[in-house]
Amino acid sequence: MAVNPKKLRPYDEPPRGRRSLIPQAPDSGATAFLVVAALWLLVTAGLGAAWIGGLLFPAQLTFRFEIPLPIFGAFPIDISPGTDGAAFANALVYGWLSNAALGAILFITPRISGVRLVGERTAFLAMLAWNLAVAGGLSSVYMPRIAQVGRLAEFALPFDGLMLLGLLMVNVVFWRTVLAARRLPFVSIWFFGIALLAVMGFYALAAAATAGAQVISLDETLVALVVGFAARAIETYWVLGVALGTLYYVVPRATGNPLASAAMGMLAWLLWAGLSGISALGALVDTSVPFWVTMLGNVGTLLLVTPVFLSVATLALTIQGRWTLVLSAGTIAFAVVSMAFLLAASLLEAIGSLRTVQGLVRGTEWPLGAWLFGTLGTATFASFAIVDHAAPRLLRRDWRGSVLTDAQLWAGFAGATMTGMALMAAGLAHGSLLRQAASPDEITNTLRWFLIVAGGGMSLVALGSAALLGTLFLMYTTARKASYAVADATAAAAGH
């Protein structure tokens, strides 16, 4: 029977579908991870600025006080350049980059495996667990009584557990989806698979070592070595691996070109998977470790240039014919900047692993500068690329970019370059002055200028992150709604 809609009364309308507290719509996990990641980038840049500011003005920006708590008694809080630096590094890796990486994995995996993500709710819960843990862990870094010691392992133990739970949930979702795949997965999936397993394994290893130090009084040196090894492995397997996997996805998608060589991509994957573990041995620096083991790790770092070069070459060949896309701020521009940082960072890491160079820069700011090239440069811009590509599809908006995207590109690029190069130059100056037996005051006065430049760079990164948030906000609130639904055959052509 035909119904005249004009005669429908309110109680005739069908009941509205109830929204679940934990969303299970397609891509809800990926959307949540990517939006939260953008917020974390702003926090990270703020912490970075606080850290460099603290190094420049330690007396003014160091605060130590105690909070009286009913059960724990006086609880000391330490806000100093040391804790700011640790919080910055953790926020960068676990806040911004990891959220963006997990969002990228959840966005990309169903699109190239051919099945819907298995466990959308689990993915959303993983996002909650992960971000609660990171927020709590970052707070714990400022509490000397519960903070742990060791690079990228400073979070208090309960937060380690929550992070591992989040990682386990994402691993389950990812592997169930991949195992249900209709086709042999694209190279990005291979990168993501190893990266996800590695970050969970190595984070658990570091957490177990720090727990062992507390519970069974493990040897301090052994714990420091294990934590250093795990931190390096997380950087190579997780931060680098997800950046590579993401670039392999966004470049062919955004250009509409086929991947220039899947075989070269798989060769790069094989080399990366093998050499990343070997490279982590280079972090084992102590008299108790045989020298050849550390040297093997340094050679692994040196050889990591190969998969990086093969990947950059494959991606550059893929862009062939579409280089004009670089001229406007957007996915390809972000990806190309990421590739440039990738090449630079791997070469700098390789140079830094040479024995003679290590003798000069060990204990200086150089390694930190090279590390920032990899994290604030390579991985951050790969994440920018996937956010730029995925956000309109996730938020279902017709978005052509705005001046904010240009601001994000240029402020982020200038900021990462300035910060990384200033710290590397500071390291070289520091090393040279130490060799000349310069007085500490002379060293301090010289380094101050480099730190001012690094602080300026960090402020630009903050500006870029604010532009990213502004873009997401404008996209959601002002852009026209659009559907990116495409049929199988036309999907690639539509750049989905």
Binding site: A25, V115, R182, L267, F291, R362, I443, T444, A492, H496
Partner: protein, 166 residues
């Protein structure tokens, strides 16, 4: 390529999870293989030429005869106190924080010279503890007071260790 043993699952119904393949070309250029082999050869030669040597200690320099609890204990205390977070992983200084190497020759900061002149033997202990009247008026420049977190014996162990650093 298809996985032969697995029956295809039901097609996704949601518009955002449709299968959108990325076309690929499979050729492996010869230059890529050549480059990989060449870099590995260079790496192998470099490794073979740098097998001998000895790693430095995980922090600080040589510490053959540190007094008090010994270098391992001193390093553990330094770890716990978080000295490296400001003074660098090698305690060689970073940013505006001074190097702790060369403490045996006296303080490196200008504002501690007077303290050194008045307390040449225990100036470092007084400075680290931070509560003695002798250091009351000095600008600590972000240096925490360790009087409550470290015992005098622990401070002594750390100072003895620092004095062994070159």
């Amino acid at each position: 390529m298809r996985w032969p043993m697995r029956p295809p699952p039901p097609r996704a119904t949601e518009p955002m999870s449709v299968y959108t393949p990325i076309e690929t070309r499979n050729a492996l250029p010869r230059w890529a293989v050549g480059l990989t082999v060449l870099v590995f050869l260079v790496g192998g030669v470099y490794f073979a030429g740098n097998l001998s040597g000895e790693n430095p200690p995980i922090i600080g320099g040589p510490s053959p005869s540190a007094g008090g609890g010994g270098p391992a204990v001193a390093q553990a205390i330094i770890d716990q106190a978080g000295c490296q977070s400001c003074h660098g992983p090698d305690l060689a200084g970073q940013g505006t924080f001074p190097s702790l190497h060369g403490v045996k020759d006296g303080p490196v900061s200008e504002n501690l010279q007077q303290l050194y002149a008045e307390h040449p033997d225990d100036w470092a202990n007084l400075w680290i503890a931070g509560t003695d009247p002798a250091v009351a008026g000095l600008d600590r420049g972000g240096m925490p007071v360790f009087d409550e977190t470290l015992t005098p014996e622990q401070i002594d162990t750390v100072v003895e260790y620092l004095k062994t650093l070159p």
